[in-house]
């Protein structure tokens, strides 16, 4: 059996990544707050650099591997055996570097040496979602919850990079993933059965080709609404940004008003752990997101607090 004591000893290297320092600041805030509440110690990777996400692999394979590997080398210095990256793109890039490490170790070694680090492998790269579902355990999480999402109809949107590329070992099924759904069920929400959970939102095309992104998220929004969703839950700043920020544009193109808040799962977990909304950055979401949660609040409180 999982004991709460064991979890207080979890110590994980933390790679926030550029977006979480910028436009996805609330993902960073809520992730840190959630982990603190669960007794998971996050040690920020010292002097981390950009993982190269949407561009490096576009133009240079070696660079893409080296950028990720430098971070892994720095993460290893923290003494943790696992590094966790909330941003799905960072997670995929770091995992990719670990996976490709042995392709040409000599050349990679040279590149890293120039970059001031040394890394020979051995770190596990995870997403905090994986940390929650696999390592911490949903049963253990359940014991810590103080409020429920009470049947909130949520569309779990996995996007691309949580489950792909499929050549790397994945913690979830690439075509029909379940981890977010299970997590949401644990929080008392009702994940809707919908089809676009792994369809692409356009990702990095947001700046250069917003026209394409509007079309893609329009399809995603329509499908979620049709399935009865009241909101989205996501694991990627690009997905969040595209779905949240461009929701109005996509809606006006189709003559619709969607009004579907787009939460990070860390925000919803934090909410159910009873953390104050400001610490979770819920007010930073563009589509109004607080009212919906407040409406769903209810009294799981008594039962759990007695147990603890």
């Amino acid at each position: 059996m999982d004991s709460p004591e064991r979890h207080t000893q979890m110590r994980v290297a933390y790679y926030p990544g550029c977006s979480l320092e910028g436009t996805a600041i609330e993902f960073d805030q809520s992730c840190r707050a959630m982990c603190e509440a669960l007794g998971i110690e996050l040690v920020e990777v010292p002097d981390w650099n950009c993982c190269g996400a949407s561009s490096a692999h576009f133009v240079n394979h070696d660079l893409a591997v080296a950028l990720g590997a430098r971070n892994l080398g720095l993460a290893q210095r923290t003494g943790a055996d696992q590094v966790t990256a909330p941003c799905a793109a960072c997670y995929a890039r770091l995992k990719f570097s670990e996976y490709k490490l042995h392709e040409d170790p000599e050349r990679l070694g040279q590149m890293l040496e120039r970059g001031g680090v040394d890394y020979k492998g051995g770190l596990r790269v995870s997403s905090p979602l994986e940390l929650l579902v696999r390592d911490y355990g949903l049963e253990a999480l359940k014991e810590k919850l103080v409020q429920s999402l009470n049947g909130l109809k949520v569309a779990c949107y996995y996007g691309c990079l949580l489950v792909r590329p499929t050549e790397m070992p994945s913690f979830d099924d690439p075509e029909n993933p379940r981890s977010l759904d299970s997590l949401m069920e644990t929080l008392g929400a009702e994940p809707v059965d919908w089809a676009y959970r792994v369809e692409c939102c356009g990702g990095g095309l947001a700046l250069g080709r917003a026209d394409i992104v509007r079309k893609l998220i329009g399809d995603i929004l329509d499908n979620a609404v049709e399935a009865g969703a009241e909101c989205f839950v996501v694991a990627c700043p690009l997905c969040q940004g595209n779905l949240d920020w461009r929701q109005t544009e996509a809606g006006s193109q189709r003559g619709k008003q969607y009004n579907l808040p787009v939460y990070y799962y860390t925000q919803l977990v934090g909410w159910c752990l009873g953390l104050p909304p400001q610490r979770l950055g819920i007010e930073k979401l563009l589509t109004p997101a607080t009212t919906l949660l407040e409406r769903k609040v209810s009294g799981l409180v008594s039962q759990v607090s007695e147990g603890v």
Binding site: W48, L63, L67, R70, L216
Partner: protein, 189 residues
């Protein structure tokens, strides 16, 4: 050896060298195109791009907007029955286009600028400065008025905080790492 040299000069050989993908395995079933979220915007759909590579039709492949529209969502690679990593091939083609100075087609130029400025930023600072990226992107594409409203809303939510940006401490390490990675190209890596 002579055969190897010859093969490397073909587009098929170049793609193999850069991505490790054997495009000759493609039998044109079209599953990549069928599942591609952005195929509707591509001048040449993914499965036809594979055909262009097989036939070494470099000009036609690189002059299309396809590689610049590709969102790297990896759906094609994940579902290919023949294990042709289509997204990796797109990466390789993009790199060939850049190295050989093939200009991106007009409507795809914005994405080319985006990638250039993205990498330029992390080469300089080690981390991505979202605000700098947006600024430079707008400067080079002339798209000053795009998304201004959105920018103001994000600013209001304190999601855009230009004063908050922190660069990597050892930027010189980053510069050397970039140099090492990019110099490899000329050695034939």
């Amino acid at each position: 050896m002579a055969d190897d040299k010859k093969a490397e000069k073909t587009l098929l050989g170049q793609v193999l060298a850069l991505s490790g993908v054997h495009v000759e395995n493609c039998y044109q079933c079209g599953k990549c195109t069928a599942g591609c979220p952005v195929a509707f915007e591509m001048e040449i759909p993914p499965q036809q791009m594979m055909r262009m590579v097989q036939l070494n039709l470099k000009d036609r492949a690189l002059n299309a907007n396809t590689v610049w529209v590709c969102a790297s969502c990896e759906t094609c690679s994940a579902r290919c029955p023949m294990d042709v990593k289509v997204a990796d091939v797109m990466d390789a083609l993009r790199r060939i286009a850049i190295e050989e100075g093939v200009p991106a087609p007009a409507e795809a130029r914005t994405m080319a600028v985006f990638h250039r400025e993205f990498l330029g930023g992390i080469r300089r600072w080690g981390r991505l400065n979202e605000h700098e990226l947006i600024g430079l992107y707008k400067l080079h594409t002339g798209k000053f008025m795009d998304d201004v409203g959105l920018g103001i809303r994000l600013f209001g939510k304190q999601k855009i905080r230009p004063w908050h940006f922190q660069k990597v401490k050892r930027t010189e390490d980053m510069a050397r790492l970039f140099e090492a990675a990019l110099s490899g190209e000329k050695d034939g890596h």
